[in-house]
Amino acid sequence: MFVIDCPNCGPRDQSEFTYAGEAHIARPTETENMTDAEWAEFVFMRTNTKGLFAERWWHATGCRKFFNMLRNTATDEIHAVYRIGETPPKVTANLPATPAGEASIGSGNDAVKIMTRDEEAAS
């Protein structure tokens, strides 16, 4: 559980919010000329970033407005909250240094967890 700073209501518990997918996906114009592949790209394909990710959230029980958030999906650290229509602010994020881009700490994914020498010896 974490606290989200709603741009309208202020800091509230995560349970009041609903996740609403990746942000900044523009609805295509001239949809009548689009191929099925282009439709599939728009409707289904998401970047699924591990690390800093711009996403939409909805404050379901409070102001019932959507807003954007920059969140590190590996560590759940929230770097910025900004309104719909605004460009993502520049943030300084402590992103993972591993070659594949995994978070070195705080990741719930055991497959990419960095082990200490003691843990390694014990396993």
Binding site: N8, C9, G10, P11, R12, D13, S15, E16, T61, G62, C63, R64, K65
Partner: protein, 211 residues
């Protein structure tokens, strides 16, 4: 035809409950049904003149409410406000606001029968609400006239503090809750206040009380 059968009669959602209290005036829980409730949607600067003229209230800032003896205006979102008024006053308010806001880009909806108001007052009111909500309910975090929409147990509700902590009898809170959730929330509030000697109530529909 029997006039008593056709007369319009309202029955509040908690008509089967009576007000309950904890010993030593620690807590009082009751329902105040049928307050006039009107949702106003529109930009505050558009709504402000009409609301001021009809009710005498100023538009509240974010997460706040404004009130006088008869009316209260709750902020619900940047373009949505809930106006509470006296019982049986909703049609009059609707007519006055509609006339004032004629032609403007606004929405005025009578939601009197959507919600009911639970009034929880007393020195232990904050602690009782804390058992049900994730809000920061410390007096520094939630003060007089403040408004928050949140969940209480499984029920959605709008919380507003209507009496200051320093006032005689302790703080008073009002929760605007959906008609159909009112009995559940009433029981949850009595359940949360067990520690203060509140008599417990069980939901008539058999909802689970465990959160």
């Amino acid at each position: 035809m029997n006039a008593t059968l056709t007369a319009p009669v309202r029955r509040s959602p908690l008509a089967h409950r009576s007000a309950v209290s904890a010993p030593d005036d620690l807590l009082h829980l009751s329902e105040r049904a049928f307050d006039a409730k009107i949702v106003l949607r529109g930009l505050p600067e558009v709504l402000a003149p009409a609301v001021g003229k009809v009710t005498g209230l100023a538009m509240p800032e974010a997460t706040r409410s404004t009130a006088n003896e008869t009316h209260r205006l709750l902020w619900q979102s940047p373009d949505e406000f809930l106006l509470l008024g006296p019982v049986d006053g909703e049609l009059e308010l609707m007519a006055a606001l509609t006339a004032e806001l004629d032609g403007q880009h606004v929405q005025i909806v009578n939601v009197t029968d959507y919600h009911t108001t639970l009034v929880l007052s007393g020195p232990k009111a904050r602690e009782t609400l804390m058992t049900l909500s994730t809000l920061d309910l410390h007096p520094r975090g939630f003060a007089l006239d403040q408004v928050a929409g949140t969940t209480f147990g499984h029920a959605l509700g709008w919380l507003v503090q209507t009496r200051d902590d320093e006032a005689e009898g302790g703080p008073s809170f009002e929760i605007l809750v959906r008609w159909s959730h009112a009995d559940y929330l009433f029981c949850e509030l009595t359940h949360g206040a067990r520690a203060f000697g509140m008599p417990e109530a069980r939901p008539v529909s058999g909802e689970k009380m465990e959160i």
